[in-house]
C-alpha cells in the first residue's frame, strides 16, 4: 500500500506505477461533465488547480440548515470516459497531477499523463459510502450554478483508497486487461 500525501507534486505521481494501491490524504476537487466542458470552452478555473487532483464525482451533499455546513453523504466515482475529449487539455492547461474516476480513459489522456506528469487513479465504482467516509470536510464549493452534482467541491480526504490504472509512463492496466481477456476469450470461442 502506497501513500500519496498533500501537497501533491509531479515528482510524487511520477513515482506511481500501474497496479499500485494508494491511499490519498489531502485535497480533492470534484469535477465532472459540466466542469470539463466549462474549462474546455476557455473559461478560467475559479480555483487554482496546479498540482491538484480532480475527482470525477457527483456527490450527494447536504447542507446543515443551522450552521450552513456541508456534508457529503455519498461520493462514488462516475464513469470517466465521458471526459476523454477534454481531460488532456485540462491536464495540460491547469497542471493537475491526478485524475480519480472509474472505468479508465483513452489514449489522449494516457499521452497527456506521460507528457505533463499526471496519473489516473481508479476508485471502486459503487462504493459510495466507504468513499464518503474518507471525506473529512467540505472546504469550499465553486461553480455551484452548474448544479450540486456538477459543481467543483473542494474536499479534504484521509486515506482515500484508489488503484493506479494509468500511470505517467504510458502504462495502462485497462489496455493490458483488455488485451489479456481478449486472448483468453479467443481460446474459448
Amino acid at each position: 500500500m502506497k501513500k500519496l500525501n498533500y501537497p501533491f507534486s509531479q515528482e510524487a505521481v511520477r513515482e506511481l506505477k500501474v497496479g499500485d494501491m494508494v491511499l490519498i490524504t489531502g485535497k480533492l476537487f470534484t469535477g465532472r461533465d459540466a466542469v470539463h466542458k466549462y474549462l474546455h470552452e476557455g473559461n478560467p478555473s475559479p480555483v487554482n488547480l496546479k498540482n491538484q487532483i480532480i475527482y470525477h464525482c457527483g456527490p450527494v451533499v447536504v447542507q446543515d440548515k443551522k450552521s450552513g455546513k456541508y456534508e457529503v453523504r455519498a461520493a462514488g466515482p462516475t464513469t470517466s470516459i465521458r471526459e476523454e475529449p477534454y481531460q488532456w487539455e485540462v491536464i495540460r492547461d491547469h497542471g493537475i497531477v491526478g485524475v480519480i474516476g472509474k472505468g479508465g480513459m483513452g489514449k489522449k489522456t494516457l499521452d497527456a499523463c506521460r507528457e505533463y506528469g499526471c496519473v489516473y487513479l481508479h476508485a471502486v465504482g459503487g462504493a459510495a459510502q466507504v468513499l464518503a467516509e474518507k471525506i473529512v470536510s467540505v472546504d469550499n464549493v465553486y461553480l455551484q450554478e452548474l448544479g450540486s452534482p456538477e459543481a467543483i467541491w473542494e474536499l479534504s480526504v484521509v486515506d482515500f483508497p484508489v488503484v493506479v490504472t494509468m500511470d505517467s509512463h504510458g502504462g495502462s492496466l485497462h489496455d493490458k486487461v483488455q488485451k489479456m481477456s481478449q486472448e483468453n476469450l479467443d481460446k474459448v470461442m
Partner: protein, 330 residues
C-alpha cells in the same frame, strides 16, 4: 416500449377494488385516517421497500460476493476492490444510506390478482417515489431527455418504470430493482447470425455473443456483475425479459436443462477471462448469469443482455390485506 403489453385489464369497472378498500379516500380525512388508511399503508410499504432496496444487498447476492472475495488472491488489486465492496455493503446497511450514489432506474415488477387497481397503485407508487427522493433514499435521478432538466422527484415519462403482471393468486407481490446507469450502459443486444463472431442462430451462437458482451463490458459496469439474458423476443420484449431474469434468486436452477447448463458454463468461462473486479484483473468477472427465452419471429433471433453491477439492488415484498408489508421475498 414493451412494458405495457402484458398488463392492463380493460374493464374499468374492476378498477377500484383491491388496491385499497377505499372507504375514505379523499383529502379531508387525513388526520384520523392515518393508521387505518390503506393508501397510507401502501405508501409506507413502498417507501420502506425503496429504502431497504437502496441500502441493503439481498442475501443471495451477499453470499456470492463473499465467495468472490475469498477467491481472490491476497494483496492484489482484485482483493482490494472486493474488500472495499464488502465494507461498502456493510456500511450502507448500518447507516441506512444508498449503497451507490446512482440509485438507478426504478423498476417495479408487480404480480397482482384479478381486479387489482393498477391506476390507483401507480398513483401511490409515484407518491412513494417522491417521498423516498425527498428523504434521500433515492438521488434526484430523472432527466428530461429534451431539455436536460432534472425533474427533481424521479417521476416523469417512463420513471418509475412499473410492470404489472396478473396472476391467478390473490396475493400482491411487488419486486423492486434499482439499476444504475454504469451497468445499464454496458448492456447489449445482438441480432443473430452475428458474423463478426461467427455466431449462428442457435444456443452456441447465443453463448458466443453473451461472452462477447462480457468482454466488451470489461470493468465498466462495476463488476463483478450478474447477467440477465433473453434469447428471442422482439427488441423491446427481449430487453425487458432480460431484466426480469435478474429478479431470479442467484441460487435457483433454471427449469430448462440446456439453459441451466449454459448459465453455469457462462459464469465458469467468464471467470477464466481474467477481467476481475472493476476490470483490475482477477478471478471473479461474473457472479451469476440468468437466461430466459421468448419465442421469436422466423426472421429474427435476438439475444438481449442486461448487466447488473455488484451493487445488485433488488428486493421484494408481499402485501397483507391492510396493505402493510407481509413478507420479504429475498
Amino acid at each position: 416500449m414493451a412494458k405495457k403489453k402484458k398488463a392492463a385489464p380493460k374493464k374499468k369497472v374492476a378498477v377500484k377494488k383491491s388496491v385499497a378498500p377505499k372507504k375514505k379516500v379523499v383529502a379531508k380525512k387525513k388526520t384520523a385516517a392515518k393508521k387505518s388508511n390503506p393508501e397510507q399503508a401502501l405508501m409506507n410499504s413502498l417507501v420502506e421497500l425503496i429504502r431497504k432496496t437502496s441500502a441493503e444487498i439481498p442475501d443471495d447476492v451477499q453470499k456470492v460476493i463473499l465467495e468472490a472475495l475469498a477467491r481472490e488472491e491476497k494483496n492484489t488489486t482484485a482483493e482490494y476492490a472486493m474488500n472495499i465492496i464488502q465494507a461498502n455493503i456493510e456500511l450502507a446497511k448500518k447507516k441506512s444510506q444508498p449503497i451507490c450514489q446512482d440509485t438507478g432506474t426504478i423498476l417495479f415488477f408487480v404480480e397482482c390478482p384479478r381486479n387489482f387497481d393498477q391506476i390507483a397503485f401507480t398513483k401511490i407508487c409515484h407518491k412513494a417515489v417522491r417521498k423516498a427522493t425527498e428523504v434521500g433514499y433515492l438521488r434526484q435521478n430523472s432527466v428530461d431527455s429534451l431539455t436536460g432538466q432534472n425533474v427533481g422527484m424521479n417521476v416523469g415519462p417512463g420513471h418509475p418504470d412499473i410492470h404489472f403482471h396478473q396472476h391467478a393468486k390473490s396475493t400482491v407481490e411487488i419486486r423492486l430493482m434499482l439499476k444504475g446507469g454504469g451497468c445499464e450502459n454496458v448492456g447489449a443486444q445482438y441480432a443473430l447470425p452475428y458474423n463478426e463472431l461467427g455466431a449462428g442462430r442457435d444456443l452456441a451462437g447465443a453463448r458466443k455473443v453473451i461472452l462477447d458482451a462480457i468482454q466488451k463490458a470489461q470493468g465498466k459496469g462495476c463488476g463483478p456483475g450478474v447477467l440477465g439474458v433473453c434469447i428471442g423476443g422482439d427488441r423491446g420484449a427481449g430487453y425487458v425479459h432480460s431484466k426480469e431474469q435478474l429478479l431470479r434468486r442467484l441460487d435457483d436452477t433454471n427449469s430448462i436443462k440446456e439453459l441451466a447448463d449454459l448459465e453455469k458454463e457462462i459464469v465458469t468461462t467468464a471467470n477464466t477471462l481474467g477481467i476481475g473486479p472493476m476490470g483490475f484483473g482477477g478471478k471473479t468477472t461474473l457472479l451469476g448469469c440468468k437466461i430466459g427465452v421468448l419465442n421469436r419471429l422466423p426472421a429474427s433471433f435476438f439475444v438481449s443482455v442486461s448487466y447488473m453491477c455488484w451493487a445488485y439492488r433488488r428486493l421484494g415484498i408481499t402485501l397483507k390485506g391492510d396493505l402493510s408489508i407481509g413478507k420479504w421475498l429475498y
